[in-house]
């Protein structure tokens, strides 16, 4: 094999990669936050809600989990604009990613919430806590602690999946790579660089969620045992 690797494009284009990575971080932090919120509410509905809302959430979850993110992104971006709702690529990306994240969060958090025994709610009731107070203080935090490993790996998966939003030309990391490679014809090298950046980002995210876990779960921080 006589291929000569050439990474010289980096000298000129590195700011593009930095900008792309920064947009990837912004898009994914936003959609993880929104998706987590949506998913947590849906999970509560799934466990404690009435029959009709429960079915509705079930429909949403199955729809999202059984279709490709790429198609979901196309529906949000091209689809909504064709029926009169014009969105910027970045907005469409955040919406599609958050909706996707929400469905997975629903399933994960549902398992967590179901692992909290009903007697915990009864105890909270006997202490005079309202239903909402009980859910916030007695259910959600320990539920989240139980499923936090699954939750944070899903968050990392979403960050990686955000590369798909390059297909509607949200100018995140992968889209930057596409641009640079079409300018320089150094396709293989460009994607190696981007792969390394993504690897760095996943390490960063994993560390970040680990740190957030430490802050959130005081008991685990002190005892180190699983709840």
């Amino acid at each position: 094999m006589s291929y000569q690797f050439d990474f010289s494009f980096l000298a000129e284009r590195w700011p593009d990669f930095v900008a792309g990575a920064w947009l990837t971080i912004q898009l994914t932090v936003l959609s993880i936050g929104l998706g987590f919120l949506v998913g947590t509410v849906c999970a509560l509905v799934r466990v404690y809600g009435g029959a009709a809302p429960r079915r509705l959430v079930g429909f949403y979850v199955e729809m999202i989990r059984n279709t490709p993110l790429l198609v979901q992104i196309f529906i949000v971006y091209f689809g909504l604009s064709s029926i009169g709702l014009k969105l910027s690529a970045e907005t469409a990306a955040v919406i599609a990613l958050a909706v996707n994240m929400g469905a997975y969060t629903t399933e994960i958090m549902r398992a967590g919430i179901q692992s909290i025994q009903r007697t915990q709610l009864e105890a909270a009731d006997c202490l005079g806590l309202t239903r909402l107070q009980a859910i916030v203080h007695v259910v959600l935090l320990p539920a989240m602690e139980r499923v936090y490993p699954a939750l944070s790996s899903q968050f990392v998966l979403l960050m990686l999946a955000s590369s798909i939003t390059s297909q509607i030309s949200a100018e995140e990391l992968t889209a930057v790579a596409n641009n640079v490679q079409s300018d320089t014809y150094r396709s293989f090298e460009v994607y190696i660089v981007v792969a390394v950046v993504y690897l760095g980002l996943s390490v960063l995210y994993r560390f970040g969620f680990w740190a957030i876990g430490l802050v959130l779960f005081a008991r685990k921080r002190r005892l180190g045992t699983a709840l």
């Binding site: 007697t119 915990q120 009864e122 105890a123 909270a124 009731d125 006997c126 202490l127 005079g128 806590l129 107070q133 203080h137 007695v138 935090l141 320990p142 602690e145 779960f217 005081a218 008991r219 002190r222 005892l223 045992t225 709840l227």
Partner: protein
């Protein structure tokens, strides 16, 4: 000696009917509990004694009859301001039901800050006080899993006490504990009774009932089968069912 055991009933139970589907668990249950009294409800499993306690706590709705606690009605949908009932009645469970993710102190202060709207400092003071009552001052910063079953149950009692209830309900609180741990929990309860707390306790501990209770209620098949002053009733059971029960428990 108990403080002021008046004749004023603080809990009135009359003709209570509770059904789970077709199954009638409580079938016309009724008795009164006076201020400062300690009542022991005994009976075999399935006799309806725990269900009755849960009805008094407002955890179950009843299909017939009436339960009145501190002057307000319990157990009917929409009856009694729930918040008021919660202020008046404390409940301790067989399985402790401490919140595993919170420290002992936070278990106690949670309701004080959220429900009673006390400041964090006032709540902390209150927590320290009730923990002293149950003899667990040194465990204030521990998490439930770091405590023995008996200690957890004492924290659960302290957690209820902190809300200064008028009536305390105990649902087989020692059933999950080893004998020596049972003793430490019973000692706390006995102390409470001496201080004049009105208590209704579902229990298997006949010795405790004999020593501490003012009134013993023997339940059988969803009915109050026998009721009377502890010493008298336990010494001379009137029905064959209670006779058999007493002898089997001793």
């Amino acid at each position: 000696m108990p403080a002021d055991k008046g004749t004023d009933a603080i809990v009135r139970i009359s003709d209570v009917i509770k059904e789970f589907g077709a199954l009638r668990v409580l079938d016309g249950v009724g008795f009164d509990v006076a201020l400062g009294q300690t009542v022991a409800i005994v009976g075999r499993s399935g006799s309806g004694k725990s269900t009755l306690l849960r009805c008094i706590a407002g955890l179950e709705t009843i299909q017939g009859g009436r339960i009145e606690v501190c002057g307000h009605e319990v157990g009917r949908p929409g009856s009694a301001a729930r918040a008021q009932l919660r202020r008046d009645v404390g409940m301790v469970f067989q399985s402790y039901n401490l919140f595993p993710h919170l420290t002992v102190e936070r278990n106690i202060t949670l309701a004080l800050t959220l429900v009673k709207k006390q400041s964090r400092d006032a709540a902390r003071q209150q927590a320290a006080e009730v923990l002293r009552l149950v003899g667990l001052t040194d465990k204030i910063d521990s998490y439930p899993e770091q405590l023995s079953g008996g200690q957890q149950q004492r924290v659960a009692i302290a957690r209820s006490l902190a809300l200064s209830p008028q009536v305390m309900l105990f649902d087989e609180v020692t059933s999950a504990l080893d004998p020596e741990l049972t003793a430490e929990v019973l000692a706390v309860m006995e102390d409470l009774a001496r201080r004049g707390m009105t208590m209704i306790t579902v229990t298997h501990e006949m010795a405790f009932a004999r020593r501490v209770a003012d009134l013993v209620v023997f339940m059988h098949k969803g009915k109050v089968w026998e009721i009377g002053p502890a010493a008298e009733l336990l010494a001379k059971p009137r029905t064959p069912e209670f006779t058999q029960f007493v002898s089997s428990e001793l």
